[in-house]
């Protein structure tokens, strides 16, 4: 298996797969963040939004992301867009829900205190509520990243796409166990790497600041 891993890297197939997959992941995840964070903030603060979209978002989150694939294929065909759609659908709602929860968990006393100092409207929102919900939002982003990653692999496995998922699929067709394992190790490695390098560090910094690491 180590040899497969080595071969895969040296002949470039795994590296190319990694590149293709990561690119999709970044694009899909970014879209999820750009839509999910504001949506989550809106849901937490607006009764109208909550009443109209709240249940839908919760319901959608319960749907395994691969269930979006048929819709994606009907709408976009066997294309890059279809895969991105699956990635976004798979991560968007968990980001939204975690953000909403983060805002709802802000201690009301902090908001009261800020109001007594004269904070109102957007100032109250961006200077107090938003930073106060940062720990919740961060865990939502982390969850979203994991889900985006999983959705991507599921999507890539199912049709010819050029990413890591497809390498898994071809490995299976060739019944090449060590190759399959090599790709899986790569996937786990990438997941761990981003978790440790990005999210662990961010959360650690927030925990130090907040003092929650000493609980």
């Amino acid at each position: 298996m180590a040899r497969s891993l080595w071969e895969g890297f040296s002949d470039g197939t795994i590296l190319v797969g990694v590149g293709v997959s990561l690119r999709r992941l970044f694009i899909g995840y970014s879209i999820s963040l750009i839509v999910g964070l504001p949506l989550g903030l809106g849901l937490a603060r607006s009764k109208v939004l909550e009443d109209s979209l709240g249940t839908i978002v919760t319901g959608m989150q319960a749907l395994p992301s691969i269930c979006w694939l048929p819709i994606a294929l009907i709408w976009f065909g066997l294309s890059e867009t279809a895969i991105l759609f699956v990635v976004v659908a798979g991560s968007l709602f968990s980001i939204t829900i975690a953000t909403t929860a983060g805002v709802r968990n802000v201690p009301p006393l902090l908001v009261r205190a800020a109001r007594t100092m004269g904070a109102r409207g957007p100032q109250l929102y961006f200077r107090v509520i938003l930073p106060a919900s940062l720990p919740g939002i961060l865990s939502g982003m982390r969850l979203g990243w994991t889900f985006a990653w999983r959705s991507l692999m599921a999507g890539e496995l199912l049709f010819v796409s050029g990413g890591l998922g497809q390498l898994l699929a071809t490995g299976r067709e060739l019944r090449d166990m060590s190759r399959v394992l090599a790709v899986m190790v790569t996937i786990v490695g990438l997941g761990l790497l981003t978790d440790v390098l990005v999210f662990d560090r961010l959360e650690q910094r927030v925990r130090e600041r907040w003092g929650t690491d000493r609980a």
Partner: protein, 277 residues
């Protein structure tokens, strides 16, 4: 002057309608230090929140310096039992936040932060984060944050209630010192009658269900108030009245299970007459 006239306030909740305040009228002169005491649930916090503008009365009016209160504002600082400091900001930034909201020009921030953090003896901790401070230190930062924008009124809702007796003692001295120097109007809610007598020009006792003013005691003692004898005289007087009210509340809340102990003054773990209710 703070003028509260004929103010009534109800709260509607799942358990029914609470008559929190019943046509309460109260005038507080500029520079006066007024303490509010009374049994739990009698509406002390509600009264304070009305002055702060966090709540609106059902009827009656609240005016501060001839302006009707319609919203919270930096001219009336509020301190709570919990420091309510922002954990993502350093001590210095917490104080600056209040200055920014009060539209104090940026050029003055540095000086004011230094002045007030030194007043509460925490200048050394200006770059610390909230979780690195003890409870007493947090309340002192909160005090500095309240004072720095130079509000005309300081509203304090049991600000020292969760501190140990020694720390509270130190803060009493600091607060009196600051009050003497700045001559702000202070409204101070407490459960601790000794604290009220020690700090206040006036101690106002509220009765419960519905909340209304039962006694308004002027404390005629020289400051600083160290003399145990004089303080004890007022404490005893107010405690006797308070006991009647507390018994009433307990009977209502606990029904037959409540056995009042005749003549026994309630005393808390901090010890002493009126240490806690």
């Amino acid at each position: 002057m703070i003028r509260i006239s004929q103010v009534s306030k109800h709260f509607i909740s799942r358990t029914g309608s609470h008559h929190a305040l019943d046509s309460v009228s109260l005038d507080i002169a500029d520079g006066q230090f007024v303490c509010l005491v009374g049994p739990s649930g009698c509406g002390k916090s509600t009264l304070l929140n009305l002055i702060a503008g966090l709540e609106m009365p059902d009827s009656g009016s609240v005016t501060v310096f001839d302006t009707p209160v319609t919203a919270p504002g930096p001219d009336r600082s509020v301190m709570f039992q919990d420091s309510a400091l922002f954990p993502w900001l350093s001590v210095r930034k917490n104080v600056e936040f209040g200055l920014e909201l009060a539209n104090v020009p940026r050029s003055e921030w540095q000086g004011r932060v230094e002045t007030f953090l030194k007043k509460v003896h925490l200048w050394r901790f200006r770059d610390a984060y909230v979780h690195e401070l003890s409870g007493g230190m947090r309340q002192r930062v909160a005090l500095a944050r309240s004072l720095a924008p130079d509000p005309r009124v300081l509203l304090m809702d049991e600000p020292f209630a969760s501190l140990d007796a020694q720390t509270r003692d130190v803060l009493h001295v600091e607060l009196q010192e600051i009050w003497r120097a700045t001559q702000k109007t202070v409204v101070f809610v407490t459960h601790n009658v000794r604290e009220a007598v020690r700090l206040g020009d006036r101690v106002i006792m509220l009765a419960t269900r519905p909340g209304r003013i039962k006694h308004d005691v002027k404390i005629d003692l020289a400051r600083p108030r160290e003399s145990e004898g004089d303080v004890a005289y007022y404490v005893g007087r107010i405690m006797k009245e308070l006991k009647v009210e507390v018994d009433k509340v307990m009977r209502e809340e606990m029904g037959d299970a409540w056995q009042p102990t005749p003549g026994d003054l309630p005393s808390g773990p901090t010890g002493g007459v009126g240490g806690g209710i």
